[in-house]
Every structure is written in C-alpha cells, then in structure tokens.
Amino acid sequence: MVKEIERAGIPVVHIATVVPISLTVGANRIVPAIGIPYPLGNPNLEFKAEKKLRRGLVEKALKALQTEVDGQTVFE
C-alpha cells in the first residue's frame, strides 16, 4: 500500500514494527515502531510518558517526510 501511495505521487512514510518486511515490500521512508501489538505506544509507561513516546515517533515520521532520500531509508 505504501508503495502505491508513493507511486500515485503522495509522499509517504511507513511507521512499522517489522522493518525487514517494510524493506522487502519497498517502502522508501521507514520509521521503526515500538512493538507489534502497540506500534505507537508502550503499555508499560504512564499515559503521559507513553504519549510523549508516540509524539516522538510521529515527529520522526514527519522529519522523514522532510528529508530527501535516494532510496530506501530507515530513520532510526
């Protein structure tokens, strides 16, 4: 899906837990997520800390959209 969005001409970033899958299917901008059942969260954290973590990931994804890439790039 990521690739078709990009092919349609819309810049796209993939926040994905299993980065090798994202690489295999061909996403260009990839942000590694936290865990499979909670890609953008961590149930062990207090709500505030968890939201901060989530915001950090989304900000990283926005940063990825603002970064020129030549090919597949993982934003650690």
Partner: protein, 349 residues
Amino acid sequence: MSKLKVVHYINNFFAGIGGEEKADIPPREMEGFVGPGMALNNSLGDEAEIVATVVCGDSYYAENLEKAEADLLEMIKKYDADLFISGPAFNAGRYGVACGAIAKAVEEKLGIPSVTAMYEENPGVDMFKKDLYIITTGNSAADMRKAVKKLGEFALKLVKDEEIGTPEAEGYHVRGIRTNYFHEKRGAKRAVEMMLKKVNNLPYETEYEMPDFGNVTPMPAIMDLSDKKIALVTSGGVVPTDNPDRIESSSATKYGIYDISEYDSMPADKFTTIHGGYDRTYALQDINRVVPLDVMRDLEKEGVIGELADYYIATTGTGTSVGNARGFGEEYSKKLLADGVQAVIVTST
C-alpha cells in the same frame, strides 16, 4: 529423420529493413533465416532448422496489438512448425514486449512450444515471464553470439520435451514455478546447514526466495508541513466498533475509510481492531497506539502540520495478498489526491 521446423520472429531492425524510420512496417514473412537467424539456425545444429522468419515493426506491433498478432499467427500457422522462437530482444523495450506477446500467442493459440530471450530489465520480462521461458541475455546485441547459442540449445530441449532444470541452471528468467522433487538430504538437515553457514557469514542459497516486489522512486521531501494536509492509513485492522465494511481479520479483500473529524483522540468505545495477527489487548486499551490520532491533533493545533484529513483508511495487513494490498493502495490514493492530501503516514503493527 527430417529436421524439426522452426519459425523465427524478429523486428524491422534485425531483419535489416531499417531502424526507427521503418518501425511502422506491418507483419511480413520471409523464407528461411534472416539476420540473427543465421547464428540461431547454427545453434540448432542438425536437429532443427529455421524454415521461415516473420518480421514486424516494433511500433506497428505496439500500436496494433490485435491486428499484428492475428496477421502474424496467420503467417506462422502455414509452416506447421514444431517450435517458435522470437528475439533475442536484449534491452529493446517495444521489441521485447512484441517478442513476448507473439510467443505467448503462438504457444496458446497454435499450440507450438515457444521461447524468447531478453535482458532482465526489458519490460517484456515482467509481462511474460509467467507465461514463457525467457532466456536471459546481456543488455545489448553485443551479447548476440552467446544469447543465440543459449536460446537455440534451450529451444531444442523444449521442443524435445526434455526435463527443464532450474532458472539458474538453464539460464532463463524466474517464472515462479515450483517443482516437487526428492532431495538427497532432508529439509531439517539442509535448514541447519544453511543456518550454520549464515551465522558464520558464509555464502548460502535460500530455498525460498522472497518475491521481488520492485521499487518506486521516492517522492521529494516536503520542506514545510505547516500548510500541508496529512492523512493516516493503517494496516492494523482498526475499524469502527461494528466493523461496517466487514473487513476480514486476516487475508483482507477490502479496506475502509472512516470519519475521525469529530475526535481529538481515538475513542476506545467507538473503534476497535479486528486484526487477527496480533494480541489486540493493548490496541483495545488505547487505539492511538495504532492510529496516533491524539498526537496528530496536537500537531495540527500547534501548527506543525497544516491539517489532518477528516478520515483515516484501514485494512488488515496479516495474510493479505500483495495483489489486494496493491489494489487498495491504487484505489484509495485517487481519493487521497482528490481530497488534496499531500502526505501520508502509514502505520503497521
């Protein structure tokens, strides 16, 4: 024993009729071999010979697919051939597509075994590798000598119904065909050996090649997001509680578009996840863990992003075929574009 009869297809250029200015010539036929057919004929040895060559201009074929095919089939049929060979087309795109199309048509409609040859990046490879044996070649006619030798030898095997080995052994493009056979070592032993090689950084060959999904050129970066409209998409199976589109919990055949315009955070009583591929406990506690609406709204209010689309798009990623996923993406991207969405964040569990 009389020789097997072969009909060969080449384009205007290789037939010596002319280059681009002759690319619009309609199909024609000639006796015996022509151009590269001579070397190809030699590679067939005593067992087969090219009895006729059919020629068509590359542009003519591309612009008159049905007519070109029908006319060529008429010509080819007359020779009552045992084997049909097209190309080699190397990296010539229109020629490669024509070689693949006519070989497929001859095999399917005339029942004559057919083979062609081209370079891996020729678009004809992707279009026809599932239908045909396509022998691998270099990217230009400089490889002609080697290419026709391989092509001829392989064609003989094909027409004599000899066992065809793996793509690596025979030198054809991977067709995605699996063949059952008995290996001298059992699977567990092979797997352990492969793993030991891997951990020791030694070369090893996988027995289960991942399909090549191809790549898309990355879009340029967006420097300023503060005036851009962003949409969220997820493969995490997040849907309204009643799952109105009946999206499957695995191997999805559909996706949904769901309104979030009135929420600042994903309400746990309005949305759920039907994804069958992960423990849903944590997502059900707080769906922002999969669809980060709360954070997106904050960023929207703070002006970091221009605006968030009124909806998000969801499907279930687990077990969903590449074909379906591609179809979903193709379809909803049109809506995203029409709605002025300028960037997308996809989240996957």
